[in-house]
């Protein structure tokens, strides 16, 4: 483990005490980090986003569409074998969007 760790927000975490150091050169802790880096120090890289973090924006879009066609209604349509072509065009588009978004979700 390095002395510092980069974060996705631009700040730096000091591993010894968990302090969050802002990327502001007038902050003496950040100035010290820059000195350390200039002297050859290599910080730990940013953690890759978790599955939940990657899926969060997609789920947020699906949630918006859920307001028009809830998941329960989708299941009912599928379960009854209802032809979605009989739905209003706007609803057909929303169903297609939800399907496309679900394909983007990281498993």
């Amino acid at each position: 483990m390095s002395e510092y760790k980069l974060t996705p927000h631009g700040s730096v975490t000091r591993n010894s005490d968990g302090a969050s150091i802002p990327a502001d050169p007038t902050n003496i802790d950040y100035a010290e980090f820059l000195r350390w880096q200039a002297a050859g120090g290599i910080p730990d890289p940013v953690d890759p986003p978790t599955t939940a973090e990657m899926n969060a924006p997609i789920l947020a879009q699906i949630a918006v569409l859920d307001a028009y066609i809830p998941r329960g209604l989708e299941d009912l349509i599928a379960g009854l074998g209802f032809d979605v072509a009989n739905l209003p065009e706007i609803q057909q588009q929303r169903l297609a969007q939800k399907a496309a978004l679900r394909l983007q979700l990281v498993k």
Binding site: G18, D29, A52, E53
Partner: protein
């Protein structure tokens, strides 16, 4: 012809049976004051903050064992050292101060440095200093770096188990202008007042009008030859002591060195220590460091939940933010923020039942001079108890 102010001062007027006199206020204007009830008007003449360890808030705690170099202990006071081998130093707020008869001040506390483990292998590169960096907004008015730079005077009460020669020093922030000046502790374990005047430095870079450090004022407990300059002389080097420094304190197990009523002011003479109300001192210190812990309790102390946040929801998803925290005092610069759980673990929240939740569940992500946000970076959902979460925090914008 005398000015209005001179006339007014020389001829106080009597109103409702009491005497009023002209008083010059810090902004330079004159006002009137009841002479009988008049107290010394705070002029903020002390360039140091928290120089009375009675009103110094000691926000990081009051007892520090094995202090790391570069650490602040009492508010605004830092301990720096290098090349001390296996040495270890402690600092504590101590109920021991010069008497009122001695100092004219009712201070009851001092800062005590103790050698917990004697330094070993002390050599040319060894130093040990108690210091305070001074912000350019506060020091710039002295005019250092210009031909008309003013002198400044340090007054400090000192007491040590080792009567010896020490030094005080004034440096610029870049540490390429220094003036080390000797003082002698004549009697061991006895409070003595030392007064040292530094002539104004007419050259070098001394920041003014910014939030950055301009000067470092320190007490040198040890200076190896690398850090020894000429007594009471400005030099373009990083000097904190002189060849006269006895340099035996930090190599002596259990040796102590105390300071009290530290004042650094413009001019060539030391005036009465300026006593400020505790709340004023606290506010000035909080420009540089603030904590949600109760006064005198070290950050990370187990058993506190200073910031409660009721989420009003069943769970908190990964990535969700806690409500923002607003600082009581605007910080000097964007601060370094650390969050602590109920048990004192960093970057964690606790539920309101006092149980820590997942690692990373309360991680600072955005800080401003006015406050900060933290968020759930645990990668999973966290669940509150008793309706919410809580955590503690510190924010450091030290120099």
């Amino acid at each position: 012809m005398p000015t209005f102010q001179q006339l007014y001062a020389a001829n106080p007027v009597t109103l409702t049976g009491e005497e009023y006199i002209a008083v010059q206020q810090p902004n330079g204007n004159y006002g009137s004051a009841n002479s009988a009830a008049m107290m010394p008007y705070p002029a903020f003449k002390n360039l140091l903050i928290g120089g009375d360890f009675t009103t110094n808030p000691w926000q990081r705690g009051t007892t520090f064992t094995g202090v790391a170099t570069g650490s602040y202990t009492a508010d605004r006071f830092r301990l720096d050292f290098a090349t001390i081998g296996s040495g270890a130093f402690n600092i504590a707020q101590t109920a021991d101060a010069p008497t009122v008869a001695q100092s004219g001040n009712g201070a009851t506390q001092s800062l005590r440095f103790t050698v917990g483990t004697a330094a070993t292998g002390a050599g040319a590169g060894t130093y040990c200093n108690i210091l305070q960096p001074i912000e350019a907004f506060n020091f710039g008015a002295i005019g250092f770096g210009a031909s008309s730079a003013n002198s400044v005077t340090l007054s400090v009460w000192v007491k040590s188990s080792v009567n010896a020669v020490y030094s005080a020093y004034l440096q610029n922030a870049a540490q390429n202008r220094s003036n080390p000046t000797n003082f002698t502790i004549n009697s061991a374990n006895t409070w003595e007042k030392k007064t040292i005047t530094f002539t104004g430095d007419t050259t070098g870079t001394w920041s003014a009008g910014t939030t950055m450090a301009s000067a470092l004022l320190g007490i040198c407990l040890h200076a190896g030859s690398t850090y020894q300059g000429t007594n009471a002389t400005w030099a373009a080097s990083n000097y904190s002591g002189t060849s006269s420094n006895t340099n035996t304190l930090i190599t002596t197990l259990n040796a102590t060195f105390q300071i009290a009523l530290v004042q650094h002011e413009a001019g060539s003479s030391a005036t009465t220590f300026e006593a400020l109300p505790e709340d004023v001192v606290l506010g000035r210190c909080q420009r540089y460091f603030e904590t949600s812990y109760p006064a005198g309790f070290a950050p990370g102390t187990s058993g506190y939940q200073s910031v409660s946040q009721w989420t009003g929801i069943a769970t908190m998803a990964s990535g969700d933010k806690f409500s923002s925290v607003s600082f009581r005092v605007q910080k000097r610069t964007t601060p370094t923020v650390t969050t602590y759980s109920y048990t004192g673990t960093t970057n964690k929240a606790s539920n309101l039942a006092g149980t820590d939740v997942a690692a990373g569940s309360c991680t600072p992500n955005v800080a401003y001079t006015s406050g900060f946000f933290s968020y759930n970076a645990s990668g999973g959902t966290i669940t509150p108890a008793n309706g919410g979460f809580a955590y503690n925090w510190t924010a450091s914008a030290e120099l």
